[in-house]
Symmetry: C2
Subunit: 433 residues, 2 copies
């Protein structure tokens, strides 16, 4: 398909063949190239360019000689490639590259969740103006087709709630804590050794990775535009095996849960460790599996789960998006305007039952003191649990509360944290029904 | 949008409004009309016609006066409706109506699984020729977006296996047997009283309903064209609480499982009761929930689950399909040819471990006799289980076998069934890993 650069028709895929440029040739890039090669007879996608730094060290023999390798993004942007696949990660220069590709009239497929969380609305708008497709199914939950599910299969419902386990690293660590009773640091070390955690695991364990995915999910499923910074993240760092013991005693386990829910014009959203019932699908995920439960006004709950990370599952999402682009190119001319995402007031002030774990130097009157503060703030105690076998100098026990708002609990906890009998700040988590 | 009948443009949806005719106004039809009314400000779909027998008894006040009610299908077919939604069920006259609608240049949305299993390929071909859309997401698993997931989100993978619980009635009955230890007939009666089973439950409990869904899934996910009649169905009628007791002892439960798997050019397919591990997602479904696990060469396992039946969940699937039609109308002109579904040799000769339950008049030498036949056919016994508490005149016990093919087992069972110590024919089920 030889077309003149600058023509409006340049980036429209021919019905028989669509030229694809890979920008970024790491684990996922390689897997995408492999999948394109393996399925080449079944589709009309042809790899024409690979962009990366230091291509000498990247070049592989199984990619044909007709593919151009380059370290200069301009080679890709000025080429006749129809679709640019952005797999670099990070905000910059990924943002500039994607923007320029759209301006050049190319469609874009990206697996970059930080990019889509931060600049997704702007880039979607640009793609609409340029009548091109920006597809990002690989940004959330890797190979789990949740974004296409929200757009396509559940497009007829009015969704109001999304809840999921979106970070495999946290799930791996929490499963280790739960099963092997190791310390958090030890579980983290093992996750690093097993290749499940980065050298700097902050993004994963403090919730920022899951938050970017939640922002993208909320936009796709709830039509809600949210700045990541508005969404509260709470770390899983403070969890110990004691918390799992208490949670089990109560019929629950603990997972890093990402939630977004629209109610009365407010978007409640948070990423935090939470107690989930043992028989919930959220409780049963293994390793890097991801799971999303969507709830709609008409269709009720729908569950999507599968491999959330890894080269091949993510490559499946990328190639599925490429096929979607091929199918979609022509329809842009007559697609009705989608409603623009709505800006919401964002709150993490969910109503939920609560788990509070205190560690105290034992002395008379502790429960009375705590109960007094809770009563003052109209927080109702549901149960008090104390396991045997701990010394009196650092005695853990758990108080569970009937459903209350985060805000009133935080005021009470702030007051409680001043008590001198506490050996560490109280830990609180929501208990999901 | 007033266009002349017969024009090629007649049935193309205007970007602002798409006219919808409902053919069939039962539970699902009413729910679709309700959903369209509730979301009217969010999309460009407008209900213009309702066809049903005896419309006087069907007419409802909350549907506006601008909607034409009719008992004559020609009123719909000759109208300017862009999309016909077929919700009559049954093969005839649904087939003729859908065919005529496509010939008239209308797109069609259907929730009719028997129609799509039997005539799906032909009708899809006709829709391509007429450059119209035939959407059928509501045919399988009601509101669970599995068909869109296979087409869209997993389009980039090469799927080779589908396994699921596709019939809510069977799941309800089996759950009753398992939990309450009632007889099959009693569970069936209660399912009828609760509205989960039809007066004639044959389609559900003997597997024909699930089989139609499996045929549609295999076409969508495995690109395999199968005649329903080629797929073996085994009934759940013979199961008793004893089978659940043995299954539990072995770490399993029993579900009606629909499976299709491509291996070496053969499509293995069956609908039958099977043992599934207690911790499998298949084991945990409640009531009318449906679940499908797809397995791909690149992305591994993906799980979809949700409400498989009911007016509102099915209506969500129908309206999602309507929105898909609106989006798709323009792209038909340049969509690359999809590979035509492949005709497969169909076999139910899965390799699997087996559960065999015998009921005998106790006497010496029974195990020896059975073991002799099994050994002759090179079937290896894995375990023999016998629970106490049964009389010697009708003593049940279970033999489990190491993985073997259905065909060799059937030969052995045929031979075994001639033994006079059996008080009923042996019952066998696959044990899924």
């Amino acid at each position: 398909m030889a077309t003149s650069i600058g023509s409006i028709e340049k980036a429209r895929c021919d019905a028989r063949e669509c030229k694809v440029a890979l920008v970024g040739f790491g684990t996922v890039g390689k897997a995408v190239a492999g999948l394109l090669a393996a399925r080449t007879h079944e589709h009309s996608l042809r790899l024409t360019h690979v962009f990366n730094r230091d291509i000498c060290s990247k070049r592989v023999g199984w990619i044909g000689d007709d593919v151009q390798w380059t370290e200069d993004i301009n080679d890709v942007l000025a080429s006749d490639a129809d679709i640019v696949v952005e797999l670099m990660g990070g905000l910059h220069p990924a943002y500039e590259f994607v923007r320029r590709a759209l301006l050049e009239g190319k469609s874009v497929v990206t697996a970059n969740k930080q990019l889509m969380a931060r600049y997704g609305s702007e880039l979607m708008q640009l793609s609409r103006e340029k009548r091109r497709v920006l597809a990002y199914g690989a940004c959330v939950a890797g190979g789990v087709p949740v974004l296409s599910g929200l757009h396509e299969g559940l497009g007829g419902d009015r969704l109001y709630k999304l809840c999921g386990v979106l970070n495999g690293t946290c799930n791996y660590i929490l499963t280790k804590l739960e099963r092997e009773g190791v310390s958090f640091d030890q579980a983290l070390d093992e996750a690093k050794q097993a290749g499940y955690a980065e050298a700097d695991p902050t993004d994963d364990i403090d919730g920022y990775d899951a938050r970017a995915k939640l922002v993208i999910l909320a936009r796709a499923g709830l039509n809600a535009e949210v700045n990541s910074e508005q969404v509260v993240c709470r770390s899983i760092r403070r969890l110990t095996k004691t918390d799992f013991e208490y949670a089990h005693q109560m019929g629950y386990t603990i997972r890093q849960i990402s939630r977004a829910e629209v109610e009365d014009g407010v978007l409640y959203a948070a990423v935090e460790p939470a107690l989930v019932p043992h028989d919930s699908p959220l409780a049963k995920l293994e390793g890097s599996q991801n799971l999303v439960v969507s709830t709609g006004e008409f269709g009720g709950e729908t569950v999507f789960s599968g491999h959330g990370a890894g080269g091949n599952p993510t490559a499946v999402a990328v190639v599925s998006d490429l096929l979607h682009v091929v199918r979609s190119q022509a329809q842009l001319a007559m697609e009705p305007d989608r409603p623009r995402p709505r800006q919401y007031e964002v709150s993490s002030d969910f109503e939920a039952a609560r788990y509070m774990r205190f560690v105290v130097r034992d002395a008379p009157g502790i429960i009375a003191a705590l109960a007094g503060v809770l009563a003052k703030h109209e927080l109702n105690i549901d149960s008090i649990l104390q396991q045997p076998g701990h010394g009196k100098s650092a005695l853990p026990f758990v108080v569970s509360l009937e459903p209350c708002r985060t805000a009133s609990l935080d005021v009470a906890l702030n007051e409680i944290s001043r008590f001198e009998f506490l050996t560490e700040p109280p830990l609180s988590m929501p208990i999901l029904a």
